[in-house]
Subunit: 351 residues, 2 copies
DNA sequence: CTGAAAGCGCTTACAG
DNA sequence: CTGAAAGCGCTTACAG
């Protein structure tokens, strides 16, 4: 394995200059930099991470703790995020060490990893309302970045989508089409994003379609089965007036709703409009649903590069309160949404 | 953070001696070792991994590549193994870096990780028949250990259970109870362990109960749904004579079989005996099934300590062909198996 | 049984 | 713009 020394000998430069050239220090001459870069490529130079880490005092390792849920439903989104996050961190010379935890104490696994004393920072996933992890890590001065947002005006680094707008955009599309009885199959209530979506949903509905009864909001694991079961119960009409549109937390949930409609002989979008939020998981193509699914669209994996970069910036001393990004999901109108059925543009009745 | 130097100053010893004492070198005097260990504990000494790694030339990082399947069914066993493996490797000062791959080429992701040139070795999971990964890694002299076994007389390190015996033990129990028409819901055919289980099943059946028609062997994802669907079709009797016993690849599959029996009004074990192989996943308690499930039993997570140790030994120069262990699963007889129903002890007919 | 010393491959003040 | 040198915290022949 070629070292800085090899390059320096090859070019008659000092190791220091070679190091500076490769690390993009501005004071290096353009010609020198080019020569160094070429020699590095020619010799197949790769920095020795352990040496870099020893010299800089960083471990180059960041951690992420995955909560295993009691119901054992391995989250499909998990793999997608891990894939991208690992790659994005690797591109920035950081290794990601995963640790799976099954305990009840949300900060205990972080304490445990910190004790081993070899982590530069954390990526926090699956925030819950009033998540205690940011407070704990900040009290110990441990850098981290959160995927999502657990508090209203956080003083920590995070990247997420505007979940209230996800609901509002969907509601606005549907109310413009005349819908008033819109139901929501939300993500699991214990997660912060779900709380934001529900709040956004209720606010947008109140503004455009009328108040929403509790019976028109439900949640469950983000599966086809959840969608099927809830839609079947709502659409059968046994539980009161039927919704004319259903908003789904994920595309698999929407697949279940579509199946329920089919089983009940309801046409989509003739009798029922269906929308979902689309995390753009691989192997799930809402464009190929039948009918093609109207969605709000925000690929989960696109969060990974910003998250990795924020963490690097944070490690390099950037103030975390500057490392905050909220992006707005896109809206893709396809064939699963249409005008409200005639005579059905009647708001929910609050009991 | 305390260093070796701190300890050496504290005790008036050399850094070298402190290092030797802490690393268990035999030549250190017993009293000296004790003093050093006490001082290390008192000062909260933790070795600096980067320094160790730089000095030893090892990265201290091993990789594991997780294949993401097209059907997106995140394997429940995955989390269990990752949890334990991470912990066991950490206890041996190794970090585990996961990489998720979705491509078709089984060795490409290993090549890619190798190019980054910072891995000491790999843990290989989910072996398939004639798995190309061992050959590739051996050709590059990359240490690895396989969870399971992909070849008949491997020349590489691996740890696994005797899958043929898993089937044979189950078949023997059932034939002793008089069963002759035993059906198998196997793990997915693309995995090596499933091929071993099927071969073991057919051999044991041929020896004790008669040959098995292809229609009595099926496979699918290791889910409740797989068990329910297959059992329903077999037990309805539409596809030929009913099995009097069903062997399941996993406990969730058995849960599905039990539900199918219930739905059809069949009693277990009166009309049907049910067995499964139990990976001992958390939150699944075959002892609490109704009836309590008879199983072959081999906790997946118990493979992790041996795997971690084997990898360490391999990294320390042990010849991989010595690092091979096959353990035998246990057999736990509970209430889901019983004597064959009267007059039903008639072998399968091969069409 | 213990120590002095070299070395692992980087980074980064300090000088010029 | 470049270099000489110290230092990061270990490990490990080599000597005694």
């Amino acid at each position: 394995m070629a070292t800085l020394k090899d390059i320096s000998v090859e070019l008659g430069l000092s190791v220091a200059t070679v190091s500076r050239a490769l690390n993009g220090f501005p004071e290096v001459g353009a010609r020198t930099r080019t020569r160094v870069q070429e020699a590095a490529a020619r010799l197949g130079y790769r920095p020795n991470r352990s040496a870099q880490r020893l010299a800089t005092g960083r471990s180059g390792v960041v951690g992420m703790i995955v909560k295993l849920r009691a119901d054992m439903s391995a989250d499909q989104t998990f793999f997608d995020v891990i894939t991208s996050l690992t790659a994005e961190l690797a591109a920035r010379d950081l290794d990601l060490v995963l640790s799976v935890d099954q305990g009840d104490d949300p900060v205990a696994p972080y304490k445990r990893m910190l004790e081993r004393d070899l982590l530069d920072g954390f990526v926090l996933n699956a925030p819950v309302p009033n998540d205690p992890r940011p407070g704990f890590l900040m009290s110990r001065d441990v850098p981290f970045v959160m995927h999502g947002q657990a508090h209203d005006a956080p003083d920590y680094a995070f990247f997420g989508i505007d979940n209230a707008a996800v609901s509002a955009d969907a509601v606005e599309l549907l109310t413009t089409l005349g819908h008033r009885r819109i139901a929501l199959i939300n993500g699991e209530a214990r997660f912060a994003f779900a709380a934001e979506r529900e709040a956004g949903f209720r606010a947008a509905m109140a503004a455009g379609a009328g108040a929403v009864p509790d019976s028109a909001v439900a949640d469950g694991p983000p599966t086809e089965n959840t969608g099927y079961t809830l839609a079947l119960s709502w659409l059968s009409g046994r539980t009161g007036p039927r919704p004319t549109a259903i908003l789904c937390a994920t595309t698999p949930v929407a697949a279940g709703v579509l199946r329920a409609a089919r089983d009940l002989g309801l046409s989509v979008p003739g009798d029922l409009s269906v929308m979902a939020h689309d995390d753009a998981l691989p192997n799930i193509r809402p464009a190929h649903f039948n009918p093609a699914l109207t969605v709000t669209h925000a690929p989960l994996r696109e969060a990974c590069a910003p998250l990795a970069q924020m963490l690097v910036d944070h490690l390099n001393g950037a103030p975390p309160a500057r490392l905050q990004t909220v992006i707005r999901a896109g809206l893709i109108v396809r064939a699963s949404t249409g005008p409200v059925p005639k005579g059905e543009d009647i708001p929910w009745q609050i009991p």
